[in-house]
Amino acid sequence: MFRIDFNKLRFLVCDDNPHMRRILRTLLHSFGAREVYEAEDGATALEMYSHYVPDIVITDWAMPIFDGLELAQMIRQPESKGNPYAPIIMLTGHSEKRRVTVARDAGVTEFLAKPISAKGLYQRILNVVANPRPFIKTKTYFGPDRRRNTNTAYMGPERRVGEKHEVLQQPSLLDKARSSI
């Protein structure tokens, strides 16, 4: 059995709602985290991301100035001087299937639909710490590997060519978002 040493992790929390930031801070501190930095909009979060170099980003979607989706896209710049690989957990009230797909395509690592729960948050953090995925760079995408199945007959858009079908066996982001944890 594994535990996370939260006191060695640095978090950046980005949410425009002060109540949700308080809840997140409370949960993370209870897990054992000491370093939790907070931003109330995407622009501030991006500045703090460069300055504090957090290990994990937890962001809301809907925010002023620029939103969590744009924040994810700005972090996932392969040529940036900062760290484009940090896990991004999208915590949002959006609960439609298409939103999960859009978040995934922006480079989000995990999706957690509100209402927030201690168990759901812990499991997302455990997953990004213990099971990091390789990154994929294409003409239009840079982020964690989005493939979850071994369908060798797939001929749809963005089909990858030239490698063996080595696919991580894990539930899709949508399935995980649907789960009640």
Partner: protein, 192 residues
């Protein structure tokens, strides 16, 4: 700590893409513990969250007041992009937070309101009652939530408002299949 040095990053190039692998930069924070270890960080966090619950009604009141103010601004000055966004964000925050604050029926009503704002083709043409019924219902739930007999009423109110809103959206989007598809798709959020 989270970033590996460039020499640790391995890039394998293929015809259409690159696969980038690196040693797990967070591996050092994982610690193996005995199966008998009794520390439960989730239970600890749930307890901490429960200790905040004394503030939830006040927080909910702040959120609902924000929603009321956003709609009052629209009634006084009409829809603008900024006012529309403020109304949506206020409703969206209630949708996301109300269950945590102990008002699950209010979350369902706020979700219904979000759907109206997001999918109505012309917000100026949405009957004002559709907005006011949603907002008044959330206000009523906030004020009556402690009464046990009001809980089932709140849930029923939420269901009926959602039905009215969905019927309206299905009607006004009958020629907009992309919206209709989203409106009819099931939510991924866990059921109450």
């Amino acid at each position: 700590m989270a970033k590996n040095s460039a020499k640790d990053i391995e890039v394998t190039a293929f015809a259409t893409h690159q696969i980038i692998t690196q040693p797990n930069p967070l591996r050092k924070v994982l610690r193996r513990v005995d199966e008998k270890d009794t520390d439960d960080p989730v239970a600890r966090a749930e307890q901490a969250l429960a200790s905040l619950s004394g503030e939830f009604k006040e927080w909910m009141t702040t959120e609902v007041n924000r929603l009321s103010a956003a709609y009052a601004a629209i009634r006084n000055g009409g829809f603008t992009r900024q006012r529309r966004d403020e109304l949506f964000h206020a409703a969206h925050d209630i949708k996301g937070d109300a269950v945590t604050f102990g008002y699950p029926a209010a979350a369902g009503i706020a979700e219904s309101l979000c759907r109206v704002i997001e999918h109505a083709p012309n917000l100026e043409k949405v009957p004002a009652e559709l907005f006011t019924h949603h907002i008044n219902a959330i206000l009523a739930i906030l004020h009556e939530n402690t009464k046990l007999d009001s809980i089932s009423v709140s849930a029923e109110l939420s269901r009926r408002l959602r039905k009215v809103a969905d019927d309206y959206l299905a009607d006004v989007n009958r020629d907009r299949p992309e919206h209709l598809e989203v409106i009819l798709a099931p939510s991924i959020a866990p059921a109450e």
